[in-house]
């Protein structure tokens, strides 16, 4: 009897084979790999040791993060590992380098910056023993915990818009380290612009709008959003937002590399920000939102305050239903999902649908008479008090500062 339609072994088709054991071991706590050595020489996992680990709450919990808070070992008192500072992974002699160029637009890494450091980490781990080098234009960011083995401090470039100087920095770093790949965030006028400048200057291929980055393949989106190109990773890779996972697990060393920032004549001069009328900014784009809920009665003060703060106005559903604010200002699941740098909620208790609209907001201030609302719990700064009097006090302060200046 012959067996028909037998599946061909993966290696016969030319695809790279996965090593499921190695993939599984990455996620296992190092302290649980105490089962001795197996016949193939691989370190074995001891499930009992893993079960012995307990969280601070005293409940038995599997800790796969490798950060093991409290370790209970047999027959001895609980020993506390340094939970706050896990020991960083050090690569002394890297086989090759992967250069990552996060934007760090406000001096802090954005979520896309974290993702591209994760993508660089993937590329470094796919070849054996690669190190991730991050170019730090912000100069203040701690990039080691985000997956950078080395950091090049280029903070002398400054916060001004100097794309030519930044390009020269990237090119100098490429000349210095000869990295296998350079990873950029494909983000508009910052990372996306920088990646294309470097590609044109060096006449190197660039994979734009990458959706997936792996050691042997990148998927790059072309033709608007209609098609994808599968190719081996070129030197330059620009990764779209939310297309890679940030680094999880133990931090990296983040050792500083000596670097001299090149001097460049630039054709473009930055004259600084231009004041924009916040009311004209679409809510989804706004950087700073003052939102009103059912607790706001004094609308005149609310509008005055938003003008004085220079904030765009938002509102909860109740307020829009009542006709106190236009519908295009509604924040939440049935309105707009917003992502400002700061969200000040006045008189909003925080229905789940409203909170869904502000999931990604970093800084939330809540002003409300009630202390135990979901919005107060969500807030980074919660103020309990009468909204109207607090808004008036804020206005007085802002006007006093204005007159003093």
């Amino acid at each position: 009897m012959t067996v028909r339609n037998r599946r061909r072994a993966p290696h016969a088709t030319g695809t790279k084979r996965r090593n499921p054991r190695a993939e599984r071991d990455i996620n296992r706590s190092p302290s649980a790999m105490t089962g001795g050595t197996g016949p193939t020489g691989r370190r074995r996992y001891d499930p009992r040791a893993a079960r012995g680990q307990m969280a601070d709450s005293g409940r038995r919990r599997l800790d796969r993060s490798g950060r093991g808070q409290t370790v209970v070992s047999m027959g001895s008192a609980a020993t506390t590992q340094s939970a706050a500072e896990p020991r960083p992974i050090v690569i002394d002699q890297p086989a090759f380098y992967i250069l990552a160029v996060p934007d760090c637009a406000d001096g802090r890494p954005s979520s896309q910056d974290r993702d591209i450091l994760g993508a660089a980490r993937t590329l470094a781990d796919a070849g054996n023993g690669g190190a991730v080098v991050a170019l730090d234009f912000g100069g203040r960011a701690a990039l080691g915990p985000l997956g950078a083995d080395r950091v090049i401090d280029t903070s002398s470039v400054g916060d001004d818009y100097t794309p030519e100087t930044r390009m020269a920095c990237v090119i100098a770093a490429i000349d210095l380290l000869a990295p296998a790949h350079v990873v950029f965030p494909d983000a508009g006028i910052n990372g996306g612009d920088l990646a294309r400048r470097v590609a044109a200057e060096r006449n190197q291929p660039l994979a734009t709008h990458c959706q997936r980055v792996a050691g042997d393949q990148v998927i790059s989106r072309v033709d608007g959003t209609k098609s994808e190109v599968y190719c081996t990773p070129p030197l330059l890779i620009a990764v779209d937002a939310e297309s890679a996972e940030p680094v999880a697990g133990a931090p990296r060393e983040g050792r500083i590399i000596e670097f001299e920032t090149p001097e460049v004549d630039t054709g473009i001069r930055d004259l600084g920000p231009v004041p924009v009328d916040p009311a004209s900014i679409p809510l989804a784009e706004a950087d700073f939102i003052l939102a009103a809920g059912n607790g706001v009665r004094d609308w005149e003060t609310f509008h005055e305050l938003s003008r004085a703060l220079g904030a765009s106005e938002g509102a909860s559903r109740v307020v829009c239903d009542a006709g106190d604010m236009p519908r295009d200002r509604q924040v939440g699941a049935s309105g707009t999902i917003v992502n400002p740098r700061c969200y000040v909620a006045v008189g909003i208790s925080g229905a789940p649908q409203h909170l869904q609209g502000i999931t990604d907001v970093e800084n939330v201030v809540a002003i409300d008479v009630k202390a135990n609302t979901p919005m107060q719990k969500r807030a980074d700064l919660g103020v309990v008090g009468d909204a109207s009097t607090i808004m008036k006090a804020l206005l007085r302060r802002l006007e006093a500062k204005h007159e003093a200046a």
Binding site: R64, S65, A199, I268, L271, P340, G382, G385
Partner: protein
Amino acid sequence: MKPLEIIVLVSIGRHPVSGRERRAVNDARALAVARSLTDRSHIKVVHAGDPDSPVLAEYLGIGADCIEVLPVPAGCDVMPGLAHEIDKRKPDVVLTASQAERGRASGLLPYALAKRAGLSLTPGVSSIDTTHDGDFRIHQALPGGQRRALAATPPLLATVDATATTVPPFVYARSRRGEIRTLEPPAEMPALDELDIRPARRRPKRINVGSGNQSAAERLRAAAGAQSAGGQQIEAADPEKAAEAIIDFLRDKKVLRPASEQ
């Protein structure tokens, strides 16, 4: 003062829903920006591709007098031909969209052109003005609806995106009146390398769930956006103190400028 000479590079776009060929929206905006800068007779609109495309007449209808077409067959690189055209005419400004709506749409062409023709490049331009000494004052669109002012000297290549001027309405008579002129085919037309192109697959949206040793209840709250930020809470008996705390918080997060700068 001598009027500005401008070249606008236009391409064939695609409607996002119907998939039909149409004028590329941002190329049309680039043409509108050019018209805000100089007289129509000093604007050259250049397209590299098929001279017989019916879409080109749409650009005539929104304010181009004449479109010059470099006949480049599909699958060939348009960059050397366009660079040669820019070298020949020496414009003060080249305007185009930041990336095409179809084809490779990598957004690399403006950068390759700027490098080859020695122009300084400014991306994401929302408006351009000239100053009395012949420089440009540019407003660049930033994320979050903000704008930044830049000063640049000619010759300049600026790319335009969705934040730029609105496109003037389409005038049918003008689209019939205008001229489409075919130029000599460029000397250099290198073939582009073949790519392994497949239809795009939808990728799942990333859900913001925490990992590690959180409890299931915490993960659920994180997914619903209701997790506790662990922030501080003040009982404001005195509204003045509350106001001060809020203003300090906003200054700390750099949302408000510090008092010294105001």
